[in-house]
């Protein structure tokens, strides 16, 4: 018997999942070796969505590169733009007004809710339940309307700028967002009623794809995935970057690290995000924009500490001319807690108006790496409950 033939017999059936497959969440390709329906070996193939986001930065000015960053993760655009802004701001020494920071925080948390909602829908779709997808789209639509009103865009917002945000909140926006926040926990209860207590859902997810905290840390898993394994690591708590330090909230933790726990952590984070938004809007410096405008006209004191026209109530710390914006030579890293884990932006500047090098660290990349370990010796039907629960977004992996 030839060696090749022996190999084929030992290797079992090779099956190629993706890049065109209904549930690979984009263009991930998995080369699986099956024995019957048991997965023996997995090889993820990435790169089908590679757009060269890091290289493109080197031939563009900072302001030209800023809108492109939105496309790194199309479900959580705000976070990547925030990471780039924080990195550039720390090299250039730009100060951000507190009002702008609060607006950033609110928009980021709204974005986290939309991202987690979409995850719930697609995860349940992977398990074969179709209805939750439409329910989450109903709620996501409401939030997207708010963000569209604010930024003019539904997905690629391009709202942040270096040292602040681009636009003032529209009139009545805060009230509408607070109304939304009031209704949302009821809708989350609705999801829990149809999903969390569903016996088939429990059967499919409990004890499936258990990620041990040690191996998760070894692979660099962050975000809700590692919190589901019981590791209390949330950058918003441990290293408060924006104004998270001024807001009181809980970190959602779970113990066993299976698919069910990853679901429970995200459901908990949805509720926490709603609370964060409510609290942040309550203590927004300057308050609602209509009132602020009137007060500012009447005040006109031009003092730094003024409650209405001081630095902290501005939208941008410094008016920058995009054409001549140059960042002094240096390097900086900004790490923030994106919905899928830690997003990290490393910028090296050589003193010109273009970055010398930009490096992105995306959390989904680690999640794809740990996938072969999680699905080894599991049934082929378990592939999607495990892969789906990791919340991988492919453009983020390939960049």
């Amino acid at each position: 018997m030839s060696k090749l033939k022996e190999n084929i017999i030992q290797k079992g059936m090779l099956i190629n999942v993706g890049p065109q497959h209904p549930s690979t969440h984009g263009v991930l390709r998995l080369i699986l070796t099956l024995e019957g329906e048991v997965i023996r070996n997995t090889k993820p193939v990435i790169g089908y969505l590679h757009r060269g986001k890091e290289k493109l930065a080197e031939s563009r000015t900072y302001f030209q590169y800023l809108p492109m960053v939105d496309r790194v993760d199309y479900l959580a655009s705000f976070f990547y733009q925030a990471a780039l802004c924080y990195a550039v701001e720390s090299i250039a020494g730009l100060k951000v007004p507190r009002r702008a920071e609060y607006i950033r925080l609110v928009t980021m948390e709204l974005n986290r809710i939309t991202s987690h909602l979409l995850w719930i829908g697609s995860f349940l779709l992977d398990l074969g339940a179709t209805s939750p997808l439409f329910y989450v789209f109903r709620e996501r639509e409401n939030i997207l309307k708010m963000l569209e009103e604010l930024t003019g865009q539904r997905m690629m917002y391009n709202y942040y700028t270096f040292s602040g945000v681009k636009k003032e909140l529209p009139e009545g926006w805060i009230t509408r967002v607070l109304d939304l926040c009031k209704n949302m926990p009821k809708l989350f209860d609705e999801y829990e009623a149809i999903i969390t207590k569903n016996p088939i859902f429990l059967e499919r997810t409990r004890g499936i794809g258990v990620m041990k905290p040690e191996s998760g840390l070894d692979y660099g898993i962050t975000g809700p995935n590692i919190r589901a394994s019981g590791v209390n690591f949330d950058l918003r708590k441990s290293d408060p970057y924006s104004v998270y330090g001024e807001i009181d909230f809980n970190t959602c933790l779970a113990g066993s690290g299976d698919s069910y726990d990853r679901y429970m952590v995200r459901i908990g984070e949805l509720r926490e995000s709603v609370k964060i938004i409510e609290k942040a809007l309550a203590q927004l410096p300057g308050g609602i924009p209509e009132r602020l405008r009137v007060k500012r006209v009447n005040c006109d004191c031009k003092k730094e500490e003024c409650e209405y026209c001081g630095f902290d109530t501005q939208l941008t710390g410094k008016k920058i001319n995009p054409a001549v914006f140059k960042v002094p030579a240096g390097e900086a890293t900004a790490i923030i807690e994106a919905p899928r884990g830690i997003a990290c932006c490393y910028v090296v500047s050589d003193g010109t108006n273009k970055p010398y090098r930009v490096k992105w660290r995306a959390p989904s990349f680690s999640s794809v790496q740990i996938l072969p370990e999680l699905i080894k010796d599991k049934s082929y039907s378990d592939l999607m409950p495990i892969f789906g629960s990791l919340d991988v977004v492919l453009p983020e992996v390939d960049r």
């Binding site: 497959h21 209904p22 074969g128 439409f134 569903n198 088939i200 082929y380 039907s381 999607m384």
Partner: protein
Amino acid sequence: MYELYAKILNIFGIPEIFAQMSWTVFPFACVAALLVLVVIFLVLMERKVLAYLTVRKGPNRVGPNGFLQTFADAIKLLFKEDIMSRDANKLLFTLAPIIVFAPVMVIYGLMPFTEHFVAINIAVGLFLVFALSSITTVGIVLAGWASNNKYSLLGGMRSAAQAISYEIPLVIAVLSIAVLAGSLNMLEIVKSQAGGIFSWNLWHAFIGFIVLFICSIAEVNRIPFDLPEAESELVSGYNTEYSGMKFALFFLAEYSAMFIISVLIVTLFLGGYLPPFSDYLSVILFQNILNNQALLNVFIHIEQGFWLIAKTYAIIFTIMWIRATLPRLRADQLMAFSWKFLLPLSFLNLILVATFKLFV
């Protein structure tokens, strides 16, 4: 009926011999037309029901309220190119949809839609229904094998495994009905349930009803038991490689199987075409007004059809509702559920029913 048929043909100047030849084909043509119409309506119903359960509107562009959407889809499907992959087994690939579809068509003839609307009324009707419906699985396995596609193969294998584990509790649950009615003839089974809602077999064999309902969802491959075509895992399962008319045959077979299994549940457990009251509504309402037995019989006939359709669509709606609510089971969980839970339950049901029959 034949005389009328020959007379109509004679009016158009068609010779007697043609009428004799075509008479054998005629019932099957009727069945086929009925089947296609039922499926077209079912697809529309499913899309509408699912849409309203998932806060959407569903099809609403073609025809009034989207009523003609499925007609448009069917026409599109007929005109599609028939693609066969190079390495597929040509004979089996073509044969598989036919094997899936043909038994379903025959089963239509066995169903007692009303007292007189039974095309094939034979003593072993119930037995024949299950014998024929099992053939469908062979077609699905063949389709999975002949497509030369790994997803199709896995789908076909799952379908076989699923059929084996689910048909046993299914048949044992149905056996209890045969015990209750003392017959395998479908009409006899319905007639044994006469006398209003409380004489239906549902109350005598309640566990059997539950088992049969779960198993029939598995039998027609629907969520939560749609493993052979689990789209998030196997793309589309056994029919991944099919297109055009061949795919349409699978589609027809799947939806008509759903209709048939609902008719079967109604016939066996919910009194078939019998009304839920002690007597026909027509009798209660019209007996003193009409005073014409022939006309009354016509009304009763229509009423029987109405009750059967109403009950059947209630069952179908429940199946669609389940589809909108539940996720899919895993293959091994499905087996465990069938062998460890449903099979003992169906035996328990049989023992209870037999004891009931013996002493009551």
